[in-house]
Symmetry: C2
Subunit: 369 residues, 2 copies
């Protein structure tokens, strides 16, 4: 009964809506939409939505979409009543609000266009409907992963490791960053992923000094440092992993720096468990880098949540004061970046447990040098 | 002097702002941002923007972004003053509005999140700034293409044709829709495109009866009808083309239907010139299909504008009453869709002229059977 997850989520969301006296919630954010309904059609930007959910505080939820998506919606979101908007979303919403007797309507303020809001306001005034902008209602539910979700995240990570290993075996001097990135994207799809979960990063030498490097036509030379940051989407769930290595034999400087970053990563992983703050985990890794003399070369946060979205809550960073809870999934990705030399980042994903955590990555070939 | 386009656009936009008494316009829509500045960094959804433009009614325009994009912004948007937001967009906007002495601020209502609007409203009240939601200001400028833009659209279309031909030569029974779609995406990049301009459609047989089919693992069999709808981005400009053919020898039914769709396409192309409405062009094609007995099997509009975005104004459809103007670029894509048989769609791009139009596609191999 693999689809019961979505049903349970609707029931939990409806309990929240009842508590907050929201008669119906309009869900526009695509990750939230997929999480609640199982409907996988992606948006092409916020201006080309493939549908909206309308979740009443009780009773059967609705999926509002257009005729292009009818078949997919019916097949995937089978708990939902499918309604097609022929004359636009607002017209259909007006009809449904009236039919369902809604007095208050919530909408997702963080993923709702101002121009749509203006039209919604106009309609609401006409219908005597009170609008209640919401923020984070569904995102909060997504923080804690179910056992089914954890299994998909495990599989996504394993597949990501396999793709890495497969492409790694083909890397040789003369290949460009773009060629390797393209091979990774291609291999992901060949091996059964929906696609990459973010723009694949492949950076040689000094290019790796930029945490968000974009692949270039630079050719690999023997002795170059290589940083690869890659992730894929497997049955809706994202993976995210970074490995750094040397094409050929690493020198002592590289080895020292790599081992320092790995020690920082392990320090953080050892610190992770329910009740610890994102700040404390970040600090555990950061302190190792500071003590090693590289504190000034680690300019980003230590990690972020991963699930249906590749970047979601919680954050592990100097400003994240919230406590981790069991069932959260986060990346642990310390790095050091030296503009004239290059960068080393090592990234794993872990599941927060009541005691300790579970590392989703299994291949340690490029971690323990 | 290839970069002068952007400078001219700023000057024209500033004239509009002065007329409309808008002291500054905040540009958030990524295509508009690229059009005005030359800055190519893409957004990863509206929640992960790579920057905003702030165009004052006179004087030098600003590009607001974060430190990840400094180098790219400086290199590409060299007419702009680059400002980094370290404490968020709103804080920086507040400083700039005060420094520049803005009393009214326009923003793009069609690409502006409600939650950001709430924070902007808060800031504006504090600063005594009047907010003026705008719709279509820059989009209207983008309707008419410059000679430089037309050349890029010509090149984009030619490259798209080359990619099609290259992949077509490799198609053989046993290949899946997904494999062909993947080969197209890969070949685009290998041949110098930035990537596909939309999700490539490859559909065999009855799958082609859905206008927005998503590639599946269905294997090609000799005699199958094949519909390919593909487009790429070349130096920022999109192409969009559909071809339908049969793997092997087409039967008489196929030939009759294909020729009917081609006649509908040519009727529309012959009707296109400045002053004609989108409705009239759609009707020219639609009437051919109606007369041929297939009027009920053409369920979508005839075409759409193409430029920096693959779907933009104007539309050619039964509801588009606006007149075409010289320099607009539109697709002409009639189709017929029969659920138990398949679909045929033929799509070219044309430039509207004062008299007649110019077809950007040159390869007619799969058009005139």
């Amino acid at each position: 009964m693999p689809q019961h997850d979505e049903f349970d989520r609707i029931v939990r969301l409806q309990a929240t809506l009842q508590r907050q006296k929201i008669d119906g919630l309009l869900v526009s954010q695509p990750d939230n939409r997929r999480y609640l309904s199982g409907y996988t059609a992606p948006d092409h930007g916020i201006q080309e939505s493939s549908g909206f959910l309308l979740i009443p505080a009780e009773g059967r939820p609705y999926l509002l979409t257009d005729s292009r998506f009818t078949l997919q919606a019916e097949a995937e979101a089978f708990h939902f009543k499918i309604e097609l908007y022929k004359k636009g979303l607002l017209k259909l919403l007006e009809q449904l609000a009236s039919r369902m007797g809604l007095h208050t309507l919530g909408f997702e303020s963080d993923y709702f266009l101002h121009s749509t809001f203006l039209r919604l306001t106009h309609m609401a005034e006409k219908e005597g409907l009170a609008l209640k902008p919401q923020s984070g209602l569904v995102e909060k539910m997504r923080l804690i992963k179910s056992e089914k979700e954890l299994n998909l995240l495990r599989k996504s990570t394993r597949l990501n490791e396999k793709v890495f290993q497969s492409v790694y075996n083909t890397i040789e001097p003369g290949m460009t960053e773009r060629e390797i990135a393209l091979a990774i994207d291609l291999t992901m799809r060949e091996m059964g992923a929906e696609g990459p979960s973010f723009d694949t990063i492949v950076a040689f030498g000094t290019n790796a000094a930029r945490p968000h490097a974009v692949p270039t036509d630079r050719e690999l030379q023997a002795g170059d440092l290589v940083l690869i940051d890659m992730g894929l989407i497997y049955q809706g769930y994202c993976s995210d992993m970074t490995r750094t290595f040397v094409a050929g034999k690493p020198d002592q400087t590289y080895l020292d720096r790599h081992r320092l970053v790995r020690r920082a990563q392990l320090a953080a992983i050892n610190a992770i468990q329910a009740g610890v703050t994102g700040f404390a985990v970040d600090k555990a890794a950061r302190q190792v880098l500071i003590d090693g003399g590289y504190g000034d070369y680690f300019g980003h946060g230590l990690g972020h949540g991963v699930g249906i979205a590749v970047h979601e809550e919680p954050r592990l960073s100097p400003s994240s004061r919230k406590q981790l809870r069991a069932g959260m999934v986060v990346t642990v990705e310390p790095g050091i970046y030296l503009p004239d030399w290059g960068g080393i980042r090592l990234e794993n994903m872990v599941v927060v447990g009541e005691e300790g955590c579970e590392t989703l990555n299994h291949d340690t070939t490029f971690l323990d040098l």
